[in-house]
Assembly symmetry: C2
Homo-oligomer: 418 residues x 2
Amino acid sequence: MNVVEREVRANGRAGGTGAMHRPHRSLEGRLIERLLSHAGNPAIEFVLWTGERVRSPGVEVAHEMHVADRATLMKLITDTQLGFGDGYSEGRITVAGDLVAFLETTYRAVPKSRGAGKIFRRLVTRRAQPANTLAGSRENIHRHYDIGNEFYSLWLGSTMAYTCAYYPSADATLDEAQVAKMHHVCRKLRLRSGESVVEAGCGWGALGLHMARHYGVKVRAFNISHEQIVYARERAQAEGLTSMVEYIEDDYRNISGSYDAFVSVGMLEHVGRENYPELGRVANQCLPRHGRGLIHSIGRNRPSPLHPWIQRRIFPGAYPPTLAEMMQLFEPWDISVLDVENLRLHYAQTLRHWLALYEAASERVKNLFDEKFVRMWRLYLAGSIAGFTTGTLQLFQVVFAPRDNNDIPLTRAYLYQD
Amino acid sequence: MNVVEREVRANGRAGGTGAMHRPHRSLEGRLIERLLSHAGNPAIEFVLWTGERVRSPGVEVAHEMHVADRATLMKLITDTQLGFGDGYSEGRITVAGDLVAFLETTYRAVPKSRGAGKIFRRLVTRRAQPANTLAGSRENIHRHYDIGNEFYSLWLGSTMAYTCAYYPSADATLDEAQVAKMHHVCRKLRLRSGESVVEAGCGWGALGLHMARHYGVKVRAFNISHEQIVYARERAQAEGLTSMVEYIEDDYRNISGSYDAFVSVGMLEHVGRENYPELGRVANQCLPRHGRGLIHSIGRNRPSPLHPWIQRRIFPGAYPPTLAEMMQLFEPWDISVLDVENLRLHYAQTLRHWLALYEAASERVKNLFDEKFVRMWRLYLAGSIAGFTTGTLQLFQVVFAPRDNNDIPLTRAYLYQD
């Protein structure tokens, strides 16, 4: 046992040396203390490669975090969010016990006045991401959604819906909740047989097929992910719905025509704030006076960039808007917002179901990619759960209509009647 | 019959002279044509004191508007909104047939790209209004809400609630809908017996008494209208609820303490945009982690000042915010918006009920004030109906909670179960 370790143990464990007699700390230990203090003193203990243990003074430890070497620690200290994500992915940072609970502890500790996204931001060097131009969006979307339908089919459930589900009751299964979400969206849009719908960003096509099958509407669904469009077309073929649902490999900015309803579930996150008025223009142009629209998106309570590690490794070009920012879709076109529902806890539950399926398939994911990939996506899913349970992320479902559409239901009771 | 009149009749009625042969117009006629064109060519015919009739070419007339003299017309042309309101109040402008339908026709004609509030704005000389400082708010509120409890009791129904009601079905009476609104608000706040509520802007006190009686909560209700506070206290006394509901004659900015719920129905319109973060600070400071809040306010689809005549003659210092502007209450404090419901058509129906009671009591109103006052308030009520039916006005009911309050219902179904 070296001197540092002995002193640390005396400090951290025996409890005999308090604030009155502060022991000597290694340089690493002092840097970690500053990091913890800046992060709101979460109930976390660092365990270093030397055996040294560091936590905030007076904090009862709930979680242990192991750091395997000095380079990993230095990256964590100089660029916390990216350093944690990369260190975890590489297995150089490990967390004892439940990863989601660990992340929730860190998110909750962040002083509200600062916001989780802002810690150590000054130290983060921004890497260039393709802007969300027509070509840039295509590249950004390709990097996430085209990594393999087989991979996604391992953990998204049978609907292949990769967006927040809707749990009418807490014990609903993932598939039940995804189907319930699609019904919830269709009922909010008050789809009637024979109507037409345009969908901006259709994923693997589940919603379009659902609308055609259960509501008798014709759907034109746009997506710039090639893999998803191929998959969606095969599904429409297999289900005999090609006359009802058309999947179009093109950008939302190229949507034209008039439709009874406009819907976009989980695309706005990828649109980029600078393009909100343009997306609003498209929705406004699509909808006649009796038209209805719905936009469903991850959001924030206040403006903050996406977690830099998620931005860099998982979702290039993505940004979760605040409600005020979302209004930039509607205000330029005098569109009325009729209803906003925050489904934050539904997304936490959806992600718990995804993570359970993902863990069960982790050997197959490893065979498709490698161990680093397995850990990277585990962290992404677990971190997203923690974001929704701690409220650093929100999920807004917004129903809208042209200003002068008075054919709107008096109350929302119809949504909750069978 | 003079030359102008003969020519106008030939133009306006006989239909023999079209665009090919445009007759001579009086100066007044040409100015009105420009005014109508700028206003989107509504289906309105001006009938002047000379007998001259003027409408937009090719438009089928739905409504006649009579102007009694040149001074009234000139005011209408140079400062349309104020000129119309004052001219109507003085009886120098009259409208044949249904006033609400006439106003709806004018609101609907306004090109959406410009917005109803912006017509001829350049010509409007802004008059100084007291800013919404502590003293300025007191003056602004005094000028509207302290003009007499007797007057308001003639047409607000038995609840004396002077805010948008909630119609569970279209045939509900005004009193039923006001009671239903209070239940709707209480259920959205999920009030439980024994809890505490702070109310910012309590009107004549109906909601506070309702919450105490039906939900068993203790209420502290703030208002700076002296007349309203006196009335509310008498009501609490008469109903034996003084131990449950305390009415405090003070500004929302002086609210302190911690409460399970924060509620404000129909006050935000008078707060002034510059004070939204301050109102948000008050709400945020009041609410512990398990707290809930609700703000109910008239709003807009896009930023626009209140109609200048309403601002000047009816509601000094008032401003209906957009949803994005309302978010300035919440964003600085990391508060989560859980639910937004737009009750626009409910306010139109509430106002129809108010206007019917008002018309039935118009002789008594005339005895309390004078004929000009009767016409002024008729125009205010009728114009508000038209604002809500045409969508130039919205009604937003926003439910919110501290970011980390996870004790929130999974769905909104409970609101619609008995």
